[in-house]
């Protein structure tokens, strides 16, 4: 029950994009086409999940016993940067078409705040007890990744349809309309607040 609650909260209620404003760059930038949004979400999911698990282990099994908690930002960001390098090499080798369509947004996953924030979230300690046990931590990172993917892919389909049909004032074309759509999606997602 606890696990279900953590998962639903991370996917719908405290959605990383719509209610915590994380990863806006890739959310706005890589969603002109649904295919690149799906690729982006998968690549990001990989980095978020493994980044979270490695950061959690690094923090509680190495940094805390050595009293080096203040190093967490520096060490987490290095973990994430190496993971992104790995994903980049993997995609370049096996899915070159996706590598091309993601372009600059792939290396930029390093500076995607979703990854770092999720890593910092799982390393949070209230009092003396870690906020997450290993199991709930895995649930949380997977759910966060799903939350990002869900919203990004839905958003990319809206963008695709809008690009073909809508006649918009010039000033609203591009980022302004995308932000307004995101706002409307956020209002829609507010409805999930009553669930928990």
């Amino acid at each position: 029950m606890d696990i279900l609650l953590i998962a639903l909260a991370a996917i719908l209620v405290n959605n990383v994009v719509l209610s915590r404003f994380l990863g806006i760059c890739s959310f706005l930038g890589a969603t002109k086409k649904a295919t690149s949004a799906i690729g982006m979400s998968l690549a990001l999911a990989f980095v978020v999940i493994f980044g979270g698990i490695i950061s959690y282990s690094l923090y509680f099994f190495i940094l805390v016993p050595l009293n080096l908690e203040f190093l967490r930002l520096v060490s987490f960001i290095l973990v994430i940067a190496s993971l992104v390098q790995f994903v980049e090499m993997f995609i370049k080798r096996y899915v070159p078409s996706l590598y091309k369509s993601l372009g600059i947004y792939l290396p930029l996953i390093t500076t995607n705040c979703v990854v770092l924030t999720v890593a910092l979230d799982v390393a949070a300690v209230s009092g003396t007890v870690p906020d997450y046990t290993f199991l709930t931590m895995v649930v949380y990172v997977v759910a966060s990744a799903i939350g990002f993917g869900l919203v990004t892919i839905l958003f990319s389909y809206i963008q695709e349809r809008l690009a073909n049909t809508a006649a918009m004032p010039k000033a609203f074309q591009g980022p302004a309309s995308a932000l307004l759509i995101a706002g409307l999606m956020a209002i829609a997602f507010l409805g999930f607040k009553g669930m928990i």
Partner: protein, 231 residues
């Protein structure tokens, strides 16, 4: 004059928020009120100045292939220091900004300035560029925070960074007419979208106005010449 241009370009022409649309996460997350927006702006200004100066100082020592990890570590160190200082001296602001303070580490604006400016320019120019970019950021978050707080609550409530007490409160219109969605999360997207559209509308207008003025000036300076020639 050229130095002033660097600051102005950083603040207006290359405004990170409204023109380049970079690093929007903290912009959206910390602008539900004027005071937290200003706090975020000041933290960004501090980090960007130190990072630009440090990167520019050691730019000849960084091998090109590993410049990104090097910059990440530099920025992460600076943010750790700023975070510790803020927790010690401005505890209420630090609590308000929460995780958004830590994730300045991955802010694209700071990266973009380090990568595209500080790596190629001298220390003084990089410092001025950081000031310009930082001021542009402060201006943007202040504008957004002001618009959101005003429409969302009908008043501007400026809180102290140290203990969260209200320093001054100016009520513009009664609470009951406020549209509270604008101080909530979804309102952040909508207000930013509206402001981006407004600026996308204004920029060409200002450009046209400047051109007209330049033309008028050129004609005015031509006129006396023509008159003397006619004589």
């Amino acid at each position: 004059m050229k130095k002033l241009r660097i600051i102005l370009d950083g603040a207006f022409k290359n405004n990170s928020t409204f023109i380049m649309l970079l690093g929007l996460c903290p912009v959206l997350a910390t602008t539900s009120g004027v005071s937290s927006a200003l706090g975020m702006g000041l933290a960004m200004l501090a980090v960007i100045i130190v990072s630009n100066v440090v990167v520019s100082l050691i730019r000849h020592l960084i091998p090109n292939e590993i410049r990104i990890p090097v910059m990440i570590v530099i920025i992460a160190t600076i943010v750790t220091v700023v975070e510790m200082l803020m927790k010690a001296y401005l505890p209420d602001l630090a609590a308000n900004l929460g995780v958004y303070l830590s994730i300045i580490v991955v802010n694209c604006v700071i990266f973009a300035r380090a990568e595209s400016f500080a790596l190629k320019n001298g220390v003084l120019d990089s410092f001025l560029d950081a000031i310009g970019t930082g001021l542009g950021f402060i201006l943007s978050v202040f504008l957004l925070g002001f618009a959101r707080e005003l429409v969302g609550t009908g008043a501007i409530d400026f809180k102290s960074f140290i203990n969260g007490e209200t320093l001054f409160l100016v009520r513009i219109f009664p609470q009951q007419y406020a549209i509270s969605i604008f101080v909530e999360n979804s309102g952040a997207f909508i207000m930013l979208g509206l402001l981006v559209a407004l600026i996308a509308y204004l920029v060409p207008q200002v450009g046209a106005w400047k051109e007209n003025r330049a033309k008028a000036k050129a004609q005015n300076s031509l006129k006396p010449n023509l008159e003397t020639e006619a004589k």
